[in-house]
């Protein structure tokens, strides 16, 4: 394989993946992988997403991890928060996915060092005694099919690479969501959570879930900072929100940890 081929294939993977970023944040703080360490790096992770432009094809992966982290953080802020079985499962899943990835990312550098250092060589290919021996079952008419099946197998991205300038970057702006949330709280001195939860611009259920979770985290953040008071009389009932101060500063996640 030529260097260009390698370069082409590798370029697509240069961008760090969601688990890679998360593991780096946990390991930077010399923490073990568990829900406590994940809650403590949530802000860093959200801020990473805000600062770096996540390639379009990876947005879904980053959002899914971010949503789970927010859930973990929310649970750590509200110990009596009841999680649905799916939510509990997504937390557990993120934890052991990260543990799996940690194992692999620890051994990979060892393989890189070992690779090609002292290889075992196979003997050179010997083509002695050529005997003309065609395959009678392989006729002319089958050849186009063979080529077409090969062409069909080539990954689409290899055939039509996105030019770097043409790549559409989509970023998830957590602060935008939080800003809009705050505006609504300002507008209505007293409101309920379902009124202020930000609607997802995409109409699908999955992305609305993420927006609701982000809105919820934003609300918790405001409670923690003493700007609002939230009350939920019964489990799964509507949460009522009360503004405590006249001035509400848009919580800027980047500011909280830098």
């Amino acid at each position: 394989m030529t260097d260009q081929q390698t370069a082409f294939l590798v370029r697509h993977e240069k961008f760090e993946g969601p688990l890679e970023v998360l593991l780096e944040l946990v390991e930077k703080r010399k923490l073990f992988v568990n829900d406590i360490s994940l809650a403590s790096v949530t802000d860093d992770y959200l801020s990473y997403i805000q600062q770096k432009k996540v390639p379009a094809e990876q947005v879904a992966g980053f959002v899914a991890v971010a949503a789970t982290l927010i859930l973990i953080k929310a649970r750590s802020l509200l110990p009596n928060l009841e999680l649905s079985p799916e939510e509990a499962q997504s937390i557990e899943e993120l934890e052991y996915r990260l543990k799996l990835y940690q194992l692999i990312s620890a051994v990979a550098p060892k393989l890189i060092v070992l690779y090609g250092k002292k290889p075992i060589y196979l003997p050179r290919v010997k083509v002695e005694m050529v005997v003309f021996a065609p395959d009678p079952t392989l006729g002319l008419e089958r050849l186009p099919e063979l080529i077409k099946s090969i062409l069909g197998r080539v990954p689409k991205e290899v055939v039509e690479p996105k030019k770097p300038e043409a790549v559409v970057y989509k970023t998830i702006s957590i602060s935008e969501v939080l800003g809009s949330l705050t505006d609504r709280i300002m507008a209505a001195a007293q409101t309920t959570f379902s009124n202020i939860a930000v609607a997802s611009p995409d109409k699908d259920e999955k992305s609305q879930k993420v927006y609701t979770i982000v809105s919820f985290l934003g609300m918790l953040e405001l409670v923690r900072r003493g700007f609002i008071d939230a009350e939920q009389p019964e489990l799964f009932e509507e949460i009522s929100i009360q503004k405590l101060e006249a001035e509400v500063v848009v919580p800027d996640l980047e500011e909280t940890h830098e």
Partner: protein, 179 residues
């Protein structure tokens, strides 16, 4: 050395490619068990030699001893590629330590799309696609003997921390299936 071990050695040498245990059993008209015994014998008798037996899964081949790598390399114009990127190394690691893993499982562990890494590793001859036992619709991946050769080892068991790591991966992945 027994006749079987001798014949297998001669065959592997003359054909200069890998053979599966099944293929050897058919050619020699002996049982797979007898092939495995002969291979053990061959491995033992080559212990002090410049030739090694490489076993990966069900495939067997002969290769030069890693200690002679430098001198052989000096004679070869066609260089082995010596670089593994982080992405390729991680994908290869997952496949080496958990043979028969599927693409979704690789992606589950690494958190990113694995198409490019898989294709790259296939093109370099380091991994190959197979059908999952019991479910031919599912494509799974295993490392090739060539991958072991690049690392200068004769079986996957010689990989760093192989036993512990492959067990941990197995446990964590089994957990996934319970959910």
């Amino acid at each position: 050395m027994s006749d079987n071990a001798k014949t297998i050695e001669a065959l592997l040498y003359a054909e200069a490619r890998e053979f599966s245990i099944v293929e050897l059993a058919k050619l020699l008209q002996i049982s797979k068990e007898a092939v495995r015994e002969a291979l053990e014998e061959l491995k033992k008798s080559l212990e002090e030699h410049g030739i090694v037996v490489v076993e990966q899964g069900e495939a067997v081949s002969l290769g030069s001893h890693p200690s002679a790598a430098k001198i052989i390399e000096s004679l070869r114009k066609e260089m082995l590629s010596k670089e593994l990127t982080k992405a390729a190394a991680e994908t290869l690691a997952v496949i080496l330590y958990h043979p028969g893993i599927s693409k979704p499982e690789i992606e589950f562990i690494r958190g990113v799309n694995a198409s490019y890494s898989i294709r790259l590793l296939q093109m370099r001859g380091l991994i190959e696609q197979k059908h999952k036992e019991g479910d031919a619709r599912v494509a799974v991946y295993t490392a090739t003997s060539e991958a072991l050769q690049h690392f200068g080892i004769t079986s996957a068991a010689e990989l760093p921390e192989f036993a512990a790591l492959s067990e941990q991966l197995g446990t964590l992945l089994a957990h996934d299936k319970k959910i």
